[in-house]
Symmetry: C2
């Protein structure tokens, strides 16, 4: 219910579903506001196919452009444009207020702490089972062609 | 990450995304295995448009059929077919095992209790803010044409 509501509010107020918002946030946080598509996928909560679709639509909007990666021919870069940054800056305050209002305002500080611990445990376990599955080539999120994957264990919650 | 993983596993193992699974579960739990579309939407975690899309696909699969509601001309019924029930019965054990493995096995019984309390608070708050927004005709989930909505406050978590 929470994710659905936040997605609906972002779509209504800023014409972007949460998947798009997440891509823009990721790109805005890194130097050069650009990231390899494969790394973006690793850091994303969405599946690779959903992410590819989102980036294609963001490119149509002029919020992201794709470039060939200079140091790695296999890699393609996603680059946040100035228009994309402006769209994110316009959407962020409302979304932050939504998260605060729908999630944090409902909880005591102790409950926020508990939720943080619970989320970290579940996320760690998911990453771990993915690593095992990856070794067996059956993890839905695995991309064995990406040498950077082993080092990119940061996932935003 | 959790929802994404469960969705991927259901799709991989049972050829149904979680939205479809949820519709089949809802229908399987009620007498006659049928429910008005509007009530199904109220009890669903998905948006109305996503739900309509899911039911259309489930109908193509032969897992659900739609019927005109005898007592309410405006209402359309979604009915679970025997094939749909069989598909759900085949998918459920793997999905239940996934939820257990990815969520509950990571947590202590106290953490499960905390998560239950936290989820209930957030869900209650979302329902409440939706009721207020509904009165102002701006709730994304509101359907003012549905007289049954005010009484259907049960949402599965």
């Amino acid at each position: 219910m929470l994710f659905e509501r936040l997605d609906q509010e972002l779509t209504r107020d800023s014409a972007m579903p949460h998947t798009y918002y997440e891509v823009l946030v990721r790109l805005s946080e890194v130097p050069g506001r650009s990231m390899r598509m494969s790394e973006l996928a690793d850091r994303s909560l969405s599946s690779r196919s959903r992410l590819s679709h989102a980036v294609a639509r963001l490119e149509e909007n002029g919020w992201v452009r794709r470039e060939t990666c200079a140091t790695d021919r296999r890699g393609q870069l996603a680059v946040l444009t100035d228009a994309g940054f402006a769209a994110l800056a316009a959407a962020a305050p409302g979304h932050v207020e939504g998260v605060r209002s729908h999630l944090f305002d409902a909880l005591t500080s102790q409950q926020v702490q508990h939720l943080g611990e619970i989320s970290a445990l579940v996320a760690d376990r998911l990453r771990e089972s993915c690593s095992v599955a990856e070794a067996n080539s059956s993890c839905p999120e695995a991309d064995l062609t990406d040498p950077g994957r082993a080092n990119s264990t940061i996932h935003a919650v």
